[in-house]
Structure formats: structure tokens, C-alpha cells
């Protein structure tokens, strides 16, 4: 599978915006003169505070954060969580079952599965966030500019982005990595580049919608420059969307890296601990009834993705409340 992109914008974990009230339920009385809040404190703080309250109270968010935090600790301070070395030949010997001498068993090389998982958190947690951050920056910039200025540049660029989107990210990644090499910077750059079109499309839609609003017209009437309008007027209104996109794409970045690892397209050293790589090397053992050496790394991948998705979804819900 590749990045589940659709014409409807934010894909995958972020739910489509469906927070309409039923007909007749009290919509904010647009015509009455009633103040909406009792005012007092700065408006933004009050809204943000309320959103944060909803966020922190949400069980999905808490679970997601716990999972992700665990892996972050594993990535930064692996020794806190395990005493063995990632390539150490532990006492239990190769292919020993889990829940016995070693917590999660050992793989066919005799390495401790649990330790491998702990150390395996690092590569994925380096590549995915950086690639996502890069993609978000470029994608948001492009989307804002294309959405505001339109014109033939927008048309042409849209075609190019559409072309890139027509191939599943995995395939494109394979193509690029094969050509340019397997080093980490290249992988980071590739994933970032391949996520830009989807992000751009989402932000562009929002930028177009904002540009239609009268406050942009009002700014134009003031003689404001395009740069000012895009960065100071439109961007603040799109920030929420950017945050959601960031968390959504992060999930996909994790997925893409894991798949690339599984397919053997990453990293210098095949023996370094890496979830995808471990699954690739060990899944053949499943038919020999030795499932743990690949299932547990696979679980690690799944848990990280699920954790990020839960966070993404709860942020999205909080922003909408």
C-alpha cells in the first residue's frame, strides 16, 4: 500500500470533517447581537485552553502519547530499557521462545528480540519525523502560494504534482533510492519529496478557500503585498490544518520507511537493528513455527503507527471542538 491519497484532501487517519449539527439544532445565531463568550481574557487563550482540555482528556490521545513516548525513550536512551547489546549473542541461544529466558525470545542469529526492538526504534524515529517536517514546510509553502496566486504556474505545478501522485509512494521511493543510493539523507529526502504533493494539495485547497474570503480582499484593498497576505493573513488560518497534516503524514512516513526497510532499501549495515529489516530477515521463520522474531518487530511498527494515528485523530477532534 502506499500513501492513501484521495482527491478529498487529508487522507488516512484524519477523519473527514463531519461535525455538522442536525438540522434545526441551534446554530450560532448569526443575526442576533448576543456576544458569544463572556469575554474578558484574550480570545485565543480561551479557545486554546478549551481545546487543550479536550485533548488531554481524550483517552486516545493519552494512549497514543504513551506509546510514542515509550519509543522515543527507546530511541534516545536504549540502555535504560535493555541491558543487552543489539548484536550481542545472548545466553538463551538462537531461536529460543519468548516469555522464557529472554523476554521476547531470540532470533535466528541468536540476538535478543526485545533488545533489537529497542534499538530498532532509532532509525525509524530519525527518518520519519525529519522527512515529515521537511515535507510539511515545502508543501505548506507551495500550497499557500499556489492557492493564492493561481494562474498558469498553479496549473502547471498541479499537473506535475498530479503526475507524482499517480505512482504509489513506495514505487517512486524504490526508483529514486535505487538511482541515488541508500544513505539516510537520501531516504529522508526521498520520503519528504514524495509527500510534498499530497500536502500541497490539501493546503492549496484551504488557501483557495481562504483567498475567497473578504478579509483577503480587504487586505488587497489596503495595498498589502502578496507575501504579507500569504504569510500573515492566510497562514494563521491554515495552521490547524497544517498540524493535522503533520501528524497524519508522520504516520505515513513511518509506514513508508518501514516498508522500504522491509524491502531492503535502507541503511548501510544489514545487521543494524531496524524493525523492517528484522521482519524481512526473520519472517521466513514463521513457517517453522518461530513467529516471535518477526512478529514482535512487526508489532513494534504497528504500535508506533497506531500511536501516531491516535494522536493525530485526537488533535483533529480537539481542533474541531
Amino acid at each position: 500500500m502506499s500513501t492513501g491519497d484521495s482527491g478529498t484532501g487529508a487522507a488516512g487517519p484524519a477523519p473527514q470533517s463531519v461535525s455538522q449539527d442536525l438540522p434545526g439544532a441551534p446554530a450560532p445565531a448569526a443575526k442576533s447581537d448576543t456576544p458569544k463568550n463572556d469575554g474578558g481574557r484574550s480570545g485565543r487563550n480561551q479557545i486554546r485552553r478549551e481545546q487543550r482540555r479536550v485533548l488531554f482528556a481524550s483517552p486516545a490521545f493519552i494512549i497514543g502519547v504513551l506509546i510514542v513516548l515509550f519509543w522515543i525513550v527507546a530511541a534516545i536512551f536504549p540502555t535504560l530499557l535493555t541491558s543487552a547489546g543489539e548484536k550481542e549473542f545472548v545466553e538463551a541461544g538462537p531461536n529460543s521462545k519468548p516469555f522464557g529466558d529472554s523476554w521476547l525470545g531470540t532470533d535466528s542469529s541468536g540476538w535478543d528480540v526485545y533488545t533489537r526492538i529497542i534499538y530498532g526504534a532509532r532509525p525509524i524515529l530519525i527518518v520519519a519525523p525529519i522527512a515529515t517536517a521537511l515535507a510539511i514546510i515545502v508543501g505548506t509553502l507551495l500550497g499557500l502560494i499556489m492557492g493564492y496566486y493561481r494562474g498558469w504556474v498553479d496549473e502547471v505545478l498541479s499537473r506535475v504534482l498530479e503526475a507524482i501522485l499517480s505512482i504509489p509512494v513506495i514505487l517512486m521511493a524504490i526508483l529514486v533510492v535505487t538511482t541515488f543510493g541508500k544513505s539516510t539523507p537520501i531516504i529522508v529526502g526521498t520520503i519528504a519529496l514524495l509527500f510534498v504533493p499530497a500536502i500541497t494539495r490539501t493546503i492549496r485547497s484551504a488557501s483557495i478557500a481562504e483567498s475567497d474570503l473578504d478579509y483577503v480582499t480587504s487586505a488587497k484593498m489596503r495595498g498589502e503585498s502578496g507575501l504579507f497576505i500569504v504569510s500573515r493573513e492566510i497562514l494563521p488560518n491554515v495552521v490547524g490544518l497544517v498540524v493535522v497534516e503533520l501528524t497524519v503524514r508522520l504516520g505515513y512516513a513511518i509506514f513508508t520507511y518501514a516498508t522500504l526497510a522491509f524491502l531492503g532499501f535502507v541503511g548501510a549495515n544489514v545487521t543494524d537493528a531496524d524493525w523492517g529489516v528484522d521482519v524481512a530477515q526473520q519472517f521466513n521463520q514463521i513457517v517453522n513455527d518461530r513467529w516471535w522474531s518477526s512478529i514482535f518487530p512487526a508489532t513494534a511498527i504497528a504500535s508506533l503507527v497506531i500511536g501516531v494515528n491516535l494522536i493525530a485523530d485526537s488533535i483533529d477532534k480537539a481542533l474541531k471542538s
Binding site: 449539527d21 442536525l22 438540522p23 434545526g24 439544532a25 441551534p26 445565531a29 448569526a30 443575526k31 442576533s32 447581537d33 448576543t34 456576544p35 458569544k36 463568550n37 469575554g39 474578558g40 481574557r41 484574550s42 480570545g43 485565543r44 480561551q46 479557545i47 474570503l213 473578504d214 478579509y215 480582499t217 480587504s218 488587497k220 484593498m221 489596503r222 495595498g223 498589502e224 503585498s225 493573513e233 494563521p236 488560518n237 495552521v239
Partner: protein
């Protein structure tokens, strides 16, 4: 017009009888009261109007009449009965039968009310199928139904999809669907809000004419008092979930007995009121939000004659005259409700022209076609003058505003001048002085104010950008303007979404005045606001004009408001100025035929206007303007051989009053009578698809 048959009183059931209805919505677990004991009857064959501002519960009542409740709505007490059957006790199946055969509803937005993926014919036929007709029978019935609502070429309309019809046509279709079952009760919820004046008048004409053919009683919900006056026999005034006054339309509107009704009527410019006569009455305070807990008299917080008694005892129903009652403790003190203040200041208009719009045209290129949105517009603004601009959709009002303000660049040959000097086309090319000279207040404050900015930032940016003043001086200026608009410093730190509609519009006006403009373009500044809020805003605009000596281009579809505020009025049609003159002369004597039709279309709260002049056909597409006089296709006074051939010049009828027409004053003076029944609505030609 038509007379309504006398309902044979005791023997016939009321078409609708609502008794003590209390309803609430569940919002996040707490019930919010929306109807607090509504009681009224709609007698068989009569037209009853329910009027009030937003949040009063009139739409909820309308839906309750067909027992349609949203998922979180709940009837707490009371009954709804129609033609002897109690709706509140019906089973679902009985309710469906009732809706299919006894009652119908027409909603506010016809475009949304029809299914975009089905053909018109199919949807109208459905209304007949649900009564048991077969598919082929229903199709024939549907055709007749469309004929009945005076749609020309109904066969072609049956084959069309909703997006291929205009709003007015769609509303006719929806009415046709509603009449399918020859209902006992027809409920219309704001049926013409959002439609152009002439289209609105046509739809209302249709309903009025159909009444004589139908046996239906009509429940009409509207916030426009003029519509209620011209359409209904009796009216109920709603406030915060309760009816506060009821009676015949003549009684209630000419002789209001409840302080709210009186306040409402005084907030509208009636009977040709001008800003030079007196202010509009702005009801103090604000309408309570839905579900707020209120004292026993829901109006007491805003009432000039309220006392503590009103807070503790439910005000009784007091009959004022036959059929006319009010819910008040002190109905005899209605005279103490103050009238708005007389205006003592002078509205001084300068002699020099500040802003000139000289032969401005604007043509857009759309998909290979040239669309002339503005053609040869000539306008001038003197200091302190308000020029009202009237026109329907497609007239080019917004384009004119945007061209003046430099969002669009006028075509070659046209220019905008400031004190005689030509300004650059685009705002980004203009010098600061020029940019400052013009500002705009938009119709929709939610769209016009940046939701991510605080009010302070919004004002500050305009001050800094337009005047060059920064730092503390800018802060001071911001506070100055805010104060002038009666915005507190608390408001300055809020974001737009925390403010009410009226407050938001004040912010927008403050922003418009930040740079000390010479001309402020107001594009429907009060159309999205309730009438009582509108009054305050109009008063504010008038006051500011006096103090700051700024001129206004005041664009509105509300003729009464335009007449109130403007010194001169211009009428636009298809991008061209058709008529321009001083306000007084526009409403006396002769007018351009389009103006004539427009004025006859306005439903006035003071009663039915003289002869209605319906316009034939629909507004032509600006991309395909008719040859000769662009109005000739719909003009009731068009001269064959002349009007479709030659473009008329601007002719001065009297000093300061000009029209773009071939007819002479004598010809225009001749009265024309048109039978509204005979006029059919034509669907617009389809674009190439």
C-alpha cells in the same frame, strides 16, 4: 388582488392549532429551551404570519407544525393539532400520511432543498407518487403542477437538473411539490430570503394568486415585516420563544401594543423616513441566546416600561381589540415607549467632487468569452454625501466597489479620480494617499475579518498601513476609533468569533475609518443583521458621516434603508447605470422602467404598494447582453423598433435626475397595468454543457 373566503367559524377545524408548546434542544447534556409556551391558531383558509428576529423560535415552530424535530429536539409540553388530528400523538406511519396528504412545507433555500442528482420532473412526481399515484400518473400530475406555478415550458423544466435553474424557478418548483396534495396547511419558512427583489415579488405574487384557487391555510414565517404585511391576514410577533402580540396585520403594524413590536417597527425606516428626519430606534441590549434562562417576561431586560413585577409574574394576555392581544403587564403604558430622537444636526454636503468614477468599464475574460461586468459607469461623490446604489444580482454592484478600491483594474478609457487626480488601477500601485481615500465595509463580517487576528490587530494593521503611524501613537489611534464605535477595550482583545454580528460589523466599520477615508463603500453592511441591530449600525453610519465628513457608496437591496440613508440614489442593471438622482425625486414623479418595476416589487410594512409591475423573463447573462437597451427584453414599456436597436443615452429629466431611456416624461407618466396571473416564469437558456 383576491379576497379570502370567510372561514365558517365553529364547524371547521383549524388548519393548525398549537397550544402551549414548549420545546427544548439538548446541547451537551443540558436542555436549552427554545419554545416557551407558544399558542396560536391558523384558521382554515387564512394566511397567518409569524414574525421575529433570529433565535426567537419561529422556524422551530414552523417545523413543529409538521412535527419535524431535529435529533436533539424534544417537546416538553403542549400539543400540535391540525385539522382535528393531534400530531403530537400520531404514530410514525400516520405522520407520514399526514405529511404526504395534508400538509406541506416550503423551505428557505430552494437550491439546497432539492436533490442535485435527480431531475426536476422526477422529484415533483415523487410528491404525487407518495399519495399512491403510479409513475406515469405522477408524471402527468407533475407537469400540471409546474403549469400551475406558472412556469413556461414545463416539459423542458422537467428534464432539467436543479443546478440548471435559478433560485426563483427552484422555489416555484418547491411550491409545486408542496401543492401536490392540495394541502390543508402550507407552511412557508422564509421562502424568499436570499432572492432578488423582483424575483421575491414574483414568488409572493404567485402564492397570493394561488390562495384563491387553493383551500390551504398558510403559515408564513419571515423576519421581513413587509412580506408579512403584504401576504398575511393575521400576524403573531415572537420573541425568545413566545408570542408577545397577535392580531390582524393592520392592527399590529399600525397600532402596536407590545413594547417589542413597537421597538421593532421603529427600527425600520417606514413611510419614506430619511436620516435628516430622525434616528432609527435601536432596541437596547441584545436578543437572548437560545436556551438562556429568562425571567417570566422574556423581554423585560430590554423593555423601557418593565418593572420587577415583570420578572416574577408571567405577563397575561390582554385583549386590545377584537382579535388583537398583547402579552404584557402594562399594555396601557405603551405610549411611554419612547420614539427615536429627532435629528438636529445638519447634513452638510460639500460642493467639490472628492471621488470621481469616469466612464469606468470592467470586462472579465472567462473561458474564452468577454464578460462585461461594468459598462460606462459615471459617478461622483461630494464630501459628506451618501450615494445609494440599488441593483439585483448580476448588476455589477460588487464589481464596481472592487474596481473603485483597486482590486480590479478598470478597462482602458475609464478612470477613478481623487480630487481630480487619476488613481492607479491596482491598489498595490496606488500611493498611500489614494489607498487611504477609499475603504470598504463588507456584507458578511465573518468573512471580512481575519478570524486568526484579534480586533486590536485588525485595527492596528489598518492604522499602520494606511497612515504610517506606528508604536504608541498607533495604539492610541486604535483606541480612539474603537471608542467611537462603542467598542470597549475588552473587545479589542477578542477574536471575531467571540463577537456578535453587530459588534463584528462595528469592528469592520472601525477598520474602514482607520485611515480617515474620503469615501467608504458599504456593500450590504446590514443585510446579515437583525433589524434591531441594523438600526444601531445605520445610526452609527449616519453619525460618523456627520462627524468625519466622509462620503458613502451605500449598496443595498433594501429600498427603505437606501432611501433612509442616501442623498442621491443610482440604479444599476447589467453593469450599467440606468437612473441616478436625488433621493426625493427618485420616489416622486417618474422613473426608469426598471426602477419602476423594482419599486413596485418591494413589500412594504406600510401596506401593499400600488400596481405591481412584474418583470418578464430573467436577468440576461452579462456575457450576452441584449442588443440596444439591455433592459428591453423585460421592459413593460419597451418601444418596438427602437429599444432593441439603439442604445439609449443618459437623459436629464430634471436637474440632477437622469435616466438611460428612450421614453419621454409624458410616456413614462402613463400608468400601465399588468395582470400578474398572465406572466409566466421562463427558465434561463442553458449554457453549453
Amino acid at each position: 388582488m383576491t379576497t379570502v373566503e370567510e372561514p365558517p367559524a365553529a364547524t371547521q377545524h383549524a388548519a393548525l392549532s398549537i397550544d402551549g408548546l414548549e420545546m427544548s434542544y439538548m446541547v451537551r447534556g443540558t436542555p436549552r429551551a427554545v419554545l416557551r409556551g407558544v399558542t396560536f391558531d391558523v384558521r382554515a383558509g387564512e394566511a397567518y404570519g409569524l414574525v421575529g428576529e433570529s433565535g426567537c423560535g419561529k422556524s422551530t415552530t414552523a417545523y413543529a407544525a409538521l412535527r419535524y424535530l431535529p435529533g436533539n429536539g424534544h417537546i416538553d409540553a403542549g400539543t400540535v393539532t391540525s385539522d382535528g388530528q393531534e400530531l403530537t400523538a400520531m404514530s410514525n406511519r400516520e405522520l407520514r400520511e399526514f405529511r404526504a396528504r395534508k400538509a406541506s412545507m416550503v423551505f428557505q433555500d430552494p437550491v439546497q432543498a432539492v436533490n442535485p442528482v435527480l431531475k426536476i420532473g422526477r422529484q415533483v412526481a415523487e410528491a404525487f407518487e407518495v399519495m399512491g399515484q403510479s409513475k406515469s400518473e405522477a408524471k402527468v400530475s407533475a407537469l400540471h403542477a409546474l403549469e400551475r406555478v406558472r412556469i413556461a415550458a414545463p416539459e423542458s423544466v422537467m428534464e432539467r437538473y436543479p443546478h440548471q435553474l435559478s433560485g426563483g424557478m427552484l422555489q416555484r418548483v418547491v411550491i409545486a411539490m408542496g401543492l401536490a396534495c392540495d394541502p390543508t396547511l402550507l407552511v412557508l419558512d422564509e421562502p424568499t430570503t436570499g432572492l432578488d427583489a423582483t424575483v421575491e415579488a414574483e414568488v409572493l405574487d404567485l402564492v397570493r394568486d394561488l390562495r384563491s384557487e387553493l383551500n390551504s391555510a398558510i403559515l408564513l414565517i419571515a423576519h421581513n415585516l413587509g412580506v408579512i404585511r403584504t401576504m398575511c391576514d393575521r400576524v403573531g410577533v415572537m420573541y425568545a420563544g413566545r408570542i408577545v402580540e397577535e392580531g390582524t396585520v393592520d392592527e399590529v403594524f399600525d397600532n402596536p401594543s407590545h413594547p417589542y413590536t413597537k421597538g421593532l417597527l421603529n427600527s425600520i425606516p417606514r413611510k419614506g423616513l430619511r436620516k435628516t428626519d430622525r434616528e432609527l430606534f435601536a432596541i437596547p441590549g441584545a436578543a437572548p441566546p437560545i436556551g438562556a434562562s429568562l425571567p417570566t417576561c422574556t423581554y423585560v431586560d430590554r423593555c423601557p416600561i418593565g418593572t420587577d413585577l415583570c420578572r416574577t409574574d408571567v405577563p397575561p394576555i390582554v385583549e386590545r381589540s377584537d382579535g388583537h392581544w398583547t402579552r404584557c403587564h402594562f399594555p396601557d403604558r405603551i405610549g411611554d415607549v419612547p420614539e427615536p430622537d429627532e435629528v438636529t444636526v445638519d447634513y452638510d454636503i460639500g460642493t467639490e467632487q472628492i471621488i470621481g468614477v469616469n466612464h469606468v468599464s470592467k470586462t472579465f475574460r472567462q473561458r474564452g468569452h468577454d464578460v462585461p461586468a461594468l459598462v460606462g459607469v459615471d459617478l461622483g461623490f461630494a464630501e459628506g454625501e451618501t450615494l445609494g446604489l440599488v441593483g439585483e444580482s448580476g448588476s455589477g454592484k460588487s464589481t464596481l466597489a472592487k474596481t473603485m478600491l483597486g482590486v480590479h483594474e478598470a478597462d482602458e478609457g475609464g478612470e477613478i479620480t481623487l480630487r481630480g487626480r487619476t488613481m492607479a488601477g491596482k491598489a498595490t500601485s496606488r500611493i498611500t494617499e489614494s489607498v487611504r481615500a477609499l475603504s470598504m465595509v463588507f456584507q458578511n463580517p465573518d468573512s471580512a475579518l481575519n478570524r486568526a487576528w484579534t480586533v486590536r490587530r485588525i485595527l492596528q494593521r489598518s492604522v499602520v498601513k494606511l497612515t504610517g503611524v506606528t508604536g504608541d501613537a498607533a495604539d492610541r489611534r486604535v483606541e480612539e476609533i474603537a471608542e467611537a464605535m462603542q467598542l470597549s477595550s475588552r473587545h479589542l482583545d477578542m477574536r471575531p468569533r467571540q463577537l456578535s454580528g453587530g459588534l463584528k460589523q462595528r469592528v469592520a466599520i472601525a477598520r474602514a475609518f482607520a485611515g480617515d477615508p474620503a469615501v467608504v463603500v458599504c456593500d450590504e453592511p446590514t443585510s446579515a443583521l437583525d433589524v434591531s441591530v441594523q438600526a444601531a449600525i445605520l445610526n452609527l453610519l449616519a453619525r460618523l458621516q456627520n462627524e468625519e465628513r466622509s462620503s458613502y457608496l451605500f449598496i443595498s437591496h433594501d429600498i427603505g434603508v437606501v432611501r433612509y440613508l442616501s442623498d442621491r440614489i443610482a440604479v444599476m442593471y447589467l453593469g450599467r447605470i440606468m437612473e441616478i438622482g436625488a433621493t426625493e425625486t427618485m420616489f416622486e414623479g417618474v422613473n426608469h422602467p426598471y426602477t419602476e418595476a423594482l419599486l413596485s416589487a418591494v413589500p412594504s410594512v406600510d401596506g401593499i404598494a400600488e400596481d405591481r409591475i412584474p418583470l418578464v423573463g430573467s436577468i440576461p447573462s452579462p456575457a450576452n447582453p441584449p442588443p440596444g437597451c439591455v433592459f428591453h427584453t423585460r421592459c413593460h414599456r419597451a418601444i418596438k423598433g427602437l429599444c432593441e436597436v439603439t442604445v439609449p443615452e443618459m437623459v436629464e429629466l430634471s436637474p440632477g435626475h437622469s435616466i438611460k431611456c428612450h421614453l419621454t416624461v409624458e410616456q413614462l407618466k402613463e400608468p400601465i397595468h399588468i395582470d400578474t396571473d398572465a406572466v409566466l416564469a421562463e427558465p434561463a437558456a442553458l449554457d453549453e454543457s
